[in-house]
């Protein structure tokens, strides 16, 4: 995946990713309209399909709303790189198939607008603008299985089918 970086700070909570007042739809495109508008009112005007979000510590803290990763995916973001993630947000993202990579070094070094290339299988993050390379914390095999299946629903479907067949 390749795209431009959009940089955010520490402790970006789910109310900033998508305010509660807009949690009245499950449609990714509709949710995306208000994605990140509190920290960056112009985010949706700039973001293009495939772009990458960069954030500080504890990204996605706050509520359990799955609307947060859904809105980010609806905005066209291909991957989030942060210093650290809040627990439920991390879990929701994996379950939905949104790649979330932990790399404090990359999150520090990458600047707004840098061109980023991510290889999920190896966890390699390349900053094409500065020609720097970083390695994210690898996913556990079980989580990689969920991501590769396309999310927890697909993963569970396969498991249920295997159970029924045996």
């Amino acid at each position: 995946m390749k795209g431009k970086a959009h940089k955010f700070g520490d402790h970006v909570d789910t109310d900033q990713i998508i305010p509660a007042a807009y949690l009245v739809t499950t449609d990714p495109k509709e949710l995306a309209i208000h994605c990140m508008e509190t920290p960056d009112p112009d985010f949706m005007k700039r973001v293009k399909d495939g772009d990458v979000m960069i954030a500080g510590i504890d990204f996605g803290c706050g509520s359990s709303r799955e609307h947060a990763p859904i809105a980010i995916m609806g905005a066209g973001v291909s991957c989030v790189i942060a210093k650290s993630f809040a627990r439920i947000f991390f879990r929701n993202s994996i379950n939905l198939g949104l790649p979330v990579l932990e790399s404090p070094e990359a999150a520090d070094a990458i600047e707004q607008g840098d061109e980023i290339d991510v290889d999920l299988a190896t966890g390699t993050i390349r900053n094409l603008t500065t020609e720097q390379t970083f390695t994210a914390k690898p996913f556990e095999p079980f989580m990689m299985d969920i991501i590769e299946a396309g999310g927890l629903v697909e993963y569970t479907k396969k498991k249920l089918a295997a159970k029924a067949a045996s």
Binding site: L23, T26, C61, S63, E66, L152, V153
Partner: protein, 422 residues
């Protein structure tokens, strides 16, 4: 090796003798919950799974709480999706008029009991951990899979032990212990960890007060918050339990990732200033700043139980709230509303000039019934004050305990309760 309370419960739920932090387990759940925000996505995901029925009708509960009664057509549609699914599946459904905020409703009705593994699609699900249950917030997709299979994947968390020595003084409440703790350890201080609360200060606490502490485990990033069941727990659970329960206790040689000890007798009423629950100051410090306010909200899953309402009413009795202040009081559930009515508390609030509403989350999440405008300041008994949480991103919320909130409503600014109630 000895196990913590969280490890004991998870070991039992995955059928193992022992589990350790970091173990990936598949665990059987005792209860699954979703609300009007999270259920619509959970239903969509459930339908994708192609499963016909939920794993156990009596163990899946849907609660309309956040935007209910519906605020507009869109929220009415969400309520409809949820209601129709609940009726079709025959799961447990609380209709308006019997419902309220899930984290107060479910333990009150006996759906969660000690030893349970309870997964809810709401971040404040850890509230029920005060009963000695492993009570964990998850997203809608996890809940959909749990509804279908009765199982969840989980990583066994390390446990943080928090011990509160001594007795609380004067106006200090359980809310202040937890706000003080978050101020100390930070809003990500317990990320991925189970928080095990113990100590002398907890012994005298009612269940109402205990739930306030585990409720805000979420604000420290905790996967769950737990308390060790005692006589108070048993007395609460016995008349309501909807299923069998087991009391687990941590082993004396359990291993803790971190231990924090506090002297509860020195903790003052605490205020979380905008814009983070970890941005705490003592009430004495804040009172000096002379912060004038526009609104007071007494409600939410943190502090809208009977004890909270009694204490707020005690301060308001015979007094009027300050001019130009609006004070919104929302008992957490219909049952609590009825009790408050019987005890005359609703009379006290309305006589003082408060607006009392039927159970809902309301202004806590900036949903409805008291959303803040730009620059407005609100003193709130709820749990979060991020930018935009209660309305406009430039509105401010100050998180406090119920007596401090009531005193602020009377004074029109943030004051020490002693200034109002002498």
């Amino acid at each position: 090796m000895g196990m913590t309370l969280a490890e004991k419960i998870l070991a039992a739920k995955c059928g193992k003798k022992e589990v350790s932090p970091g173990d990936l387990i598949n665990a059987k759940v005792d209860l699954v919950m979703a609300n009007d925000i999270t259920a619509p996505i959970a239903i969509r995901q459930f339908e994708k799974l192609g499963v016909k029925d939920v794993f156990d009708k009596s163990r899946v509960v849907f609660v309309p709480s956040h935007f209910m009664p519906p605020r507009d057509i869109a929220t009415a549609e969400q309520g409809k999706v949820m209601r129709e699914f609940a009726h079709k599946m025959g799961i447990v459904w609380y209709e308006l008029g019997q419902a309220g905020i899930e984290h107060i409703l479910l333990p009150w009705k006996g759906h969660v009991v000690p030893g349970d593994l309870y997964c809810g699609a709401d971040s404040h699900t850890p509230t029920c951990g005060a009963l000695g249950a492993f009570s964990c917030g998850m997203g809608s997709t996890d809940i959909a899979v749990a509804m279908a299979t009765g199982e969840v994947w989980m990583k066994v968390p390390a446990t943080m032990r928090l011990i509160y020595h001594g007795k609380m003084q004067n106006w200090t409440r359980s809310k202040d212990l937890i706000l003080h703790t978050i101020g100390e350890i930070g809003t990500d201080g317990a990320t991925y960890m189970a928080m095990q609360f113990e100590g002398e200060a907890l012994k005298d606490m009612s269940m109402d007060a205990r739930f306030t502490m585990t409720n805000m485990a979420a604000e420290a990033g905790g996967k769950t918050g737990l308390m060790i069941p005692d006589e108070v727990t048993i007395e609460y659970v016995t008349p309501r339990a909807q299923h069998e329960w087991t009391v687990y206790k941590p082993d004396p040689d359990a291993v803790y990732e971190k231990t924090f000890e506090f002297d509860a007798s020195t903790i003052e009423p605490t205020v979380a200033m905008p814009y983070s629950p970890g941005n705490t100051k003592t009430i004495s410090e804040v009172a000096k700043e002379n912060i004038e306010i526009d609104q007071v909200f007494i409600g939410s899953c943190t502090n809208a139980r009977m004890e909270d309402l009694r204490e707020a009413a005690e301060i308001m009795r015979g007094r009027m709230i300050a001019p130009n202040i609006r004070c919104i009081v929302i008992p957490a559930t219909q049952d609590i509303f009825k009790e408050a009515l019987k005890e005359g508390l609703i009379q006290v609030f309305t006589d003082s000039g408060c607006q009392v509403s039927a159970a809902t989350c309301g202004p806590c999440l900036g949903g409805h019934y008291g959303v803040l405008a730009e620059g407005e300041r609100c003193v709130s008994t709820s749990n979060r004050n991020f930018p935009g949480r209660m309305g406009h991103p430039k509105a401010e919320a100050y998180l406090v305990n119920p007596p401090v909130a009531a005193a602020a409503a009377i004074a029109g600014r943030i004051v020490h309760p002693d200034e109002v109630a002498r």
